[in-house]
Amino acid sequence: MTPNTLAQNIVEINNLSFGYKGRMLHQGINMVFPRGKVVAIMGGSGSGKTTLLRLIGGQLKPSKGEARVEGQIVHQQSRDGIYKLRRKMGMLFQQGALFTDLSVYENVAFPMREHTDLPESMIHDLVLMKLNAVGLRGAHKLMPTELSGGMARRVALARAIALDPDIIMYDEPFAGLDPISMGVICGLIRTLNDALGATSIIVSHDVKETFTIADYVYFVANGVVVAEGTPEDLRKSTLPFVHQFVHGEKDGPVPFHYAAGDYAQDLLGFENARQGA
């Protein structure tokens, strides 16, 4: 953590642990997110990837360790401090999370209206610009319920970049999309990242799409980072888990270990449920 790395890494996660009583989701995770890069966090369902985004965004507090954004420890900030940091972040939620009572136009205008005093004409131009960037300028009058899943996510993306954030976080951006929409989103993430000069953090389990756009990938399993590297390195990786995950094999060399973690958790969950009832 020399000043050099501080300037280089816009987000850092240092020795971070998080979890609820007796069930730790993360156990000492270290990650760095260099400026201008697209970094992916990959792992199976329930491996706490999304939770990492919430920790970076300050919606959750780590049990140990820290998440730093622009050198500032997120969980030590006051509410105002966290809000100030969040204004530099944009987040795309899994289902888009568009405000259903507002039109597409108003959804994209929302962050501008809340955080700036721009005149209406300026907001109008900016909104159309952002919508144009995701190819949905023509849909600005529609309500979110009239959009398809892929369109909703593009609108949400336009909203996430409304204030030209330094950090854009994507929570499962490819989940539940048809191949065409997937390709569209995939291209958008890369182009927006480069056009805005932002840093992108992608949480996903879709190997193919993620590997085409990510500069660097972290694999998370059982609460720790099990592998990291560029997509090329990881494709060639001989680590059993990575090999199995990347190639989507049903039965890998060490399938038992990975399955065991989940299995035990399942049993634990059942036991807990029984005791609670």
Binding site: I82, R86, R87, M91, F93
Partner: protein
């Protein structure tokens, strides 16, 4: 063997009661906390007052029809029932007083609050529950916008503003309904109807106290609806249960508060 089974069953029932009870207490505390936060964030939300106006439209204006129609019928029934009882004692002129006092003191605020809980309260709970389930509240937080200032507080103040207005309109329309039944239909003298009413209805103790009651009900009903929505598990089932709970809790709260307020106001 059987005895131990009974014992186990008994323990289970006791545990369930205890759990229910502690759950209620917990919810009460969490609700109070949300109430405090709502008040704390109100200043922030007042800077965008059009949000509150919008919610007055959805909670107040949209409840107008059901409230007014109910009021009209309640007033008419009151006059009919009142007349048949009062005429036995030869004092059918007192029907105006009867209708006005019942409406102003009790039925106006209480029935309006019950209708409000069913019409606007459920809408608020369902809306906020769904916003939570679809991560809209979370998204708002990540955009550095407080959902309490942006979503909860405007709805709260809209409810507090709308309820007294609805209750006042309820009483007014109810009295009109009573008048229509008593005077043109039954044939009570119009002058006696109004003058008896005027002689016995007090501006402060009847009308103003009614408004105060409805204000308190407005706070309670809206807050319960908001809390249930905010607290709902983010699933379809969770939201539907929260909606039901809104109606049940609001109705009980209104009736309980009504008793407390009435006894307090009478002792004053």
């Amino acid at each position: 063997m059987i005895r131990s089974n009974i014992l186990v069953g008994l323990v289970r029932i006791l545990r369930k009661i205890g759990h229910n009870f502690s759950d209620r207490i917990w919810r009460l505390g969490a609700g109070a906390r949300l109430f405090g936060l709502t008040l704390a964030y109100s200043g922030e939300s007042f800077r965008r007052f059009h949000l509150t106006i919008r919610e007055v439209y959805f909670t107040g204006v949209m409840s107008l029809i059901i409230v007014l129609v109910s009021a009209f019928f309640v007033g008419m029934v009151l006059a009919l029932q009142g007349y048949y009882t009062l005429q036995k004692y030869g004092s059918s002129e007192a029907i105006g007083v009867l209708v006005a006092l019942s409406l102003l003191r009790e039925l106006g605020p209480v029935v309006t609050a019950l209708l409000f809980a069913g019409r606007a309260g459920t809408a608020i709970t369902a809306e906020i529950g769904l916003m939570k389930a679809t991560e809209q509240l979370s998204a708002m937080e990540m955009m550095a916008v407080s959902p309490i200032a942006r979503v909860v507080a405007p709805r709260f103040w809209a409810g507090v503003i709308a309820m007294p207005i609805l209750a006042t309109l309820f009483s007014m329309v109810g009295i009109l309904g009573g008048y229509l039944v008593a005077v043109p239909l039954i044939g009570v003298d119009a002058g006696a109807f109004w003058s008896q009413m005027q002689a016995n209805v007090d501006w402060r103790f009847d009308i103003l106290n009614g408004v105060i009651k409805s204000l308190v009900f407005g706070v309670a009903c809206t807050m319960i609806a908001l809390f249930e929505g905010y607290d709902a598990p983010p699933t379809a089932e969770g939201v539907s249960r929260a909606t039901t709970r809104t109606v049940v809790t609001s109705s009980l709260a209104v009736l309980g508060l009504d008793f407390a307020l009435t006894s307090f106001m009478i002792s004053m």
